[in-house]
Amino acid sequence: MDTNMLSRWAGYAGSLLLCLLLVPVAHAMQPIQHWVTDNGVRAYFVPAPELPMVDITVTFAAGSVRDGDHPGLANMTSTLLDMGAAGLSADEIASRIESLGASLTTSAAREMATVSLRSLSDRSYLDPALVIFTDVITRPNFDVKDFEREQQRKLVGIRRSEQSPSRVAGYRFYQSVFADHPYAHRVSGTEDSVKALKLDAVKAFYKRFYVAKNAVVSIVGDLDRKAAEALVQQVTGGLPKGSRAASLPPVKVLEVAKEERISHPSTQTHVRMGAPGMHRGDADYFALYVGNHVLGGGGLVSRLHEEVREQRGLSYSVNSYFNPMEQDGPYLLSLQTRNDQVDEALAVMRKTLQDFVDKGPTEEELVASKKNITGGFPLRIASNSGIGSYLNVIGFYDLPLDFLDTYNDKVMAVTREQIIDAYQRRVTPETMVTVVVGGES
């Protein structure tokens, strides 16, 4: 339901791992514990005894990059998990979980498919919730009636997304930047591809990718190590060992600029501009991340924000971010403006980017960004859900366990010269994709 509340700032999108620590601030987060189960599940655990609750996320490398010739397959598989399992119906699963005060969610993105449970830690609630959670992960029904219903719902969802110029721009941007790479197609699939999905393909997809060696479990909550180990064993012990999903192919660098203008019956025009950016563990990660914080990642204080919104009032939200993935994920700049102003806004965005590539940040800007990134560290690990998001990323991308502890030093070590060097090698405005979706002015 519409809460009808307006926020001054559009939430700024950024890469998940933005963090870190300038001064060794004392914080409540306990060290990350890690182990691998007998059947190959990688487990990550942070005890958080302050609140009587537990968050568990099981992540499989089973996102839409594994769709093959069936866009929407990963998404459909994920949706069907809690639509019936171990002989229970969707109604029964929902009713049992909710009667325990728990919540169970499934979701699929490009690389990850996750199944999450939030429950009270009191065993009389947690134990029965875990039984259902385990069934959903290890014994889904994949009933044809549920499949057909969800297929219909997804088709309506896809059509509804066509109403949004922002979403259309996002879809086209990925397609244009990634062409024939598995990152290109939308997670939901298209109307045609969803219509063509077959339940047998869902079952085969599940069998291949929902396996122990392809799974990462993260737990944050009021449990001790022994209980956490038992929990991981209970939830994933029934998964066949299987094998890890294959590495993704590298992303091709763009050779020429492309611009697409798509008409849409909207009063605003949405702009997405960018190219393949960087990957997890990239040698240029810190230089690019800190550099982008100055350019368009700092939320309310960035060059793009200043030039496009503060100086000219052209857009409500304007930002840029790297989305590092297993391979080079996108570097994306975006804004939206009244139809007749799009050329002006686009020109300002391009000039701001070009100036930054040419000259980099000033020393003053660099210091300010470092202060924001490092000084904000305690905020990002202040809640169980904040810690949980980090665990997922660290686990899924095999990042070192001291990733958070060393991040601040690496941020602080970034120099102007490194940023300029990295931007000049990695960010080339001359070959970027620009997608413009909107109405006539």
Binding site: A257, G299, A382
Partner: protein
Amino acid sequence: MRSLLTLFLLLGSQLALAAAVVTEYQLDNGLKLVVKEDHRAPVVVSQVWYKVGASYEHDGITGVSHVLEHMMFKGTDAHPPGEFSRIISENGGSENAFTSKDYTAYFQRLEKSRLAVSFELEADRMRNLHLQDKEFQKEINVVMEERRLRTDDKPTALTYEQFMASAFVSSSVRIPTIGWMNDLENMELADLQRWYQRWYAPNNAIVVVVGDVEPEAVLKLAQKYFGPLKPEEIVPPKPRLEPPQSGKRYVTVQAPAEVPYTIMGYKTPVLKTATEDWEPYALEVLANILDGGDSARLTRELVRGSQIATSAGAGYDLYDRQEGLFLLDATPADGHSIADVQQALFEQVQLLKDKPVEIEELERIKTSVVASDVYEQDSAFYQGMKVGQLEAIGLDWKLADVYVERIKAVTAEQVQAVAKKYLVEESLTIAELDPLPMQAGSKPRVAANGGGHGH
């Protein structure tokens, strides 16, 4: 599931032990300070709430509260435009502000030792905002862009806006928080100046602090920074009570869209206006019976059962300042009309009047409010929201603490009683989105070209 009742009681006692310490103060100038301790992590959330929002506005200046919220970042004599955000950013903080019908709020999240940074800046802009025409001319354009983004280009949001304006003819609940476009186009700096003068004062504000702090130390900081501010004579808005509705109202919104949508609402009291104070809680339970999760009736019966809808929801908010609506909305599945889906919603309403809800349903809702109460403690920000929202509409923040108890006390008979009393045709408004073709019979036009874009 039968054994849940005992588990419930156990959990209840456990939670009582964990209850957070809340301390409340009032400064001599009328500013209210509420401090909620959360020592899990060395961080603090600071929120300043003003008792003003769209429901305080009148025709011709709609949206002024929200525009003023934007202008609050545009400088004081001590801090030029943009400096507020730069200082917060350099202190590692994140900040935002939001406006609703009944309040305007500003917040920062910071490492705990930086609370003074927030207080100094917030106190400064509470009384010393320097409204400049040059900044206003740019920012009003940003707000119009925001309106296009949030409402004009979103068919369901457009429908909701028209729906509210049709359901209420006099009450200011009808005013969209973003403001009507024509009012934005004609807004003047003087409108903002008057609005700021009238509402931004310590005796019309609540400061809420949640985090790893000591209440007495926070009080000292508040006295230092907010203490010297002069109060204002605050004249509360006129009541503008909605005249009784005497029959069903319909509104149709035609807009380019792919998928139809319907929303409907029945006039209902809120906690602040209810003559029987159990009724709002019974309406909360009623909303949860219909839409409290995937096992609730609307999803179970309409989405998975009859499959008439691809999504369906219900909503009710007991913490509003004025009488509001009990909402129902839905998107029809392919092969079903708006009329089908409306009929299915009415059948669900009728069922609630005809038969008491099942004990299992009540138990589920009660367990889930107890659990949510635990989960919400994971967010210091949300803890602050609950306190600020209540205080801003003129209710005691302690009501948030009795919410769980009040919900647990609701009976099946009470749920049936509020359904019969309030979900009645005379006070019903129905809106539907009637999709116009997105593009006269064609697919989106795609044009591609090569060529670089350098300097």
